[in-house]
Amino acid sequence: MSDNLLRADLILLHGGEVVDPNAGEPMRADMVIRNGKIDQIGLIDPQSFNGKVYEVSGCWITLGLFDMHVHLREPGREDEETIESGCDAAAAGGFTGIACMPNTSPPCDSQEVVRFIKKKAQDEPTEVYPIAALTKGRQGKEITEMADLVRAGAVAFSDDGSPVADTSVMRNAMDYAFMFDVPIIDHCEDPFLAQGGHMNEGLMSTRLGLPGIPNAAEAVQIARDILLCRLTGAKVHIAHLSTQEGVELVRRAKEAGLPVTAEVTPHHLFFTDADLATFDTNLKMNPPLRTSEDVEALEQGLREGVIDAFASDHAPHSLEEKDVEFDAAPFGIIGLETMLGVIFKQIVGRGVLTAAQALQKMIISPRKILGLPIPKLSEGQPAELTIFHPTALWTFDKTLSRSKSRNTPYHGMEFPAKVWGIINKGMVRIV
């Protein structure tokens, strides 16, 4: 066990404020944790406490954050990220739970891989929930052994990154997944419309001479899969929503009472395609960064509750892969360590959501979507906690990232919401 990973046998978090994302207002309180459980919440004198005392004054003590869209790269690309390094980055970002995408090598399309991931992560303070592939080999042709995968611990199905082109395959996948009451996480992108594109299609792609991906590429498939959701009743979760058209489609699906949910990434809220003027491959994402009108629509979607959750789409790529001409670079950035800071700066700081609303979208909603139990902030409950200072400023230095990769556009930027550490599974991980 490393220096900053300790047992939560008997500890006192002193001087902080307890924040229940469901209740709202922070409340000044100390917390005793005994054998991994919340033992006492109240004002406790550290002098008379005979366990380990952590001074966390000014910090918020809240339920553990959850990131439902993470790429861990193991098995297959351990040079970019391992389950261990990904969990370290997750803990540094304040996450006690993450769901990892199946686009590994081999892909997570069999119960062996699900078990492998869970086993590798079992001693980490951050719990890892594998998302299994929707189709065998993520080929979009035959559906996976979903019953077996769910039994092994898969919490959702997705061919993330390789959207299912064949509508009948998607329909069958939804019908079949319906039996297990697990969501399909849907990377919505019409592969024909998006083919060859490297950025958002629009004025900026014309300016830069880069092939574009139109908003319609996302919206067409969201529309299709909402219709299939109506047909099958399966739970559909739209990954990394990026377009105003997409927000409108999800809004209407929700109004119609369909089991459709959606997430948005910090980067689709923080950047626009106008930031690509220097061909920075750390701003090359899929879906691509869109325009400021799209960002406004996403913010409106957050306010209205059309968008349920924040998710990082943490996508490690090696330096060699990203340090190339724009066309040749892969899509994606790392994001576990910066998500809370970016959301507090961009969304809470600018008044789009209150801090409690933002925390709900990182704590409650993702677990609800995946059908996972939601931890509680009360005595006797297992301590699954994130402790962070909401206003303390910190600067993200990619060279100090816990991730094995460095592909981030946030290097050198200053954010609020400094993570102190997490407590989970009887362990304390101090950042």
Partner: protein, 313 residues
Amino acid sequence: MGLTSRHLLGLEGVPAKDITLILDTAENLKSILDRPIPKVPTLRGITVVNLFFENSTRTRISFELAEKRLSADTINFSAAGSSVKKGETLKDTVRNIEAMKIDMIVVRHSAAGVPYFLTQCTDAVIINAGDGRHEHPTQALLDMMTLREKWGTLKGKKVAIIGDIRHSRVAGSNIRGLKTMGAEVMVCGPRTLIPPGIKEFGVEVTYRLDEAIEWADALNVLRIQLERQEKGLFPSIREYHNEYGITRERIARAKKELIIMHPGPINRGVELDADVADSDASIILDQVTNGVAVRMAVLVLLSGFDTSQESLR
């Protein structure tokens, strides 16, 4: 008086005074090309690498000639015979070449942004000879030089660019340069070959060739690539020629004298009929001649040679 930037990556953001300086210098240098010994020592001791990752005949020859006329040492690198095929990254290739002590790189690449990328990995002066569908600044400069020779000025003149605007770096640089110099620009082609947001560049858009012909003082006719038809962007060469091919009959309907340009190589009988290409209205071969002069001017100005202090002759 020199240029604002130490590289020529494109014409976006290049001020009118810089474009004017390049065109004036090119006109000045052009006379050298007619001498019995068409060579000056201006760039003696300067090493220029022509880094071509994409097939090119005329642009590469034009640059090479310009370099030789200026007495630069030149090295040609083309991707086919290079280590690029062996899996070396672009950055490594460029750093290796730079380590051999070179001063300037003329680069062509199929990916947009490569010239900018090179400025991040080497200290050499970078000249863009065409990057993806982004920019091809020396082509636009030679087009503007040729038009300015003809008209004396570009201000208020109307240039229609015809054809595959969407995939054309020639259009990309011409639109920027011409707008900066005060000319009016119209683009004309099938909707599938017009890029989104193009109107925000301050250009007119039409899908009807006759409208462009009626409006324009000059037509810059772009090469149409067969692969666009294979991708379904237009139905057939036959229909393209019917709708957008420049024929004698069509330009006869123009109300004023029209100038015909083409960046080459021409698909005769597709985007441009042979009798128009070879007519008096055509300034296509002047473009080619001016291409060498413009590239000489760019090389001289970016080499740090002070044209106001030292004679070029």
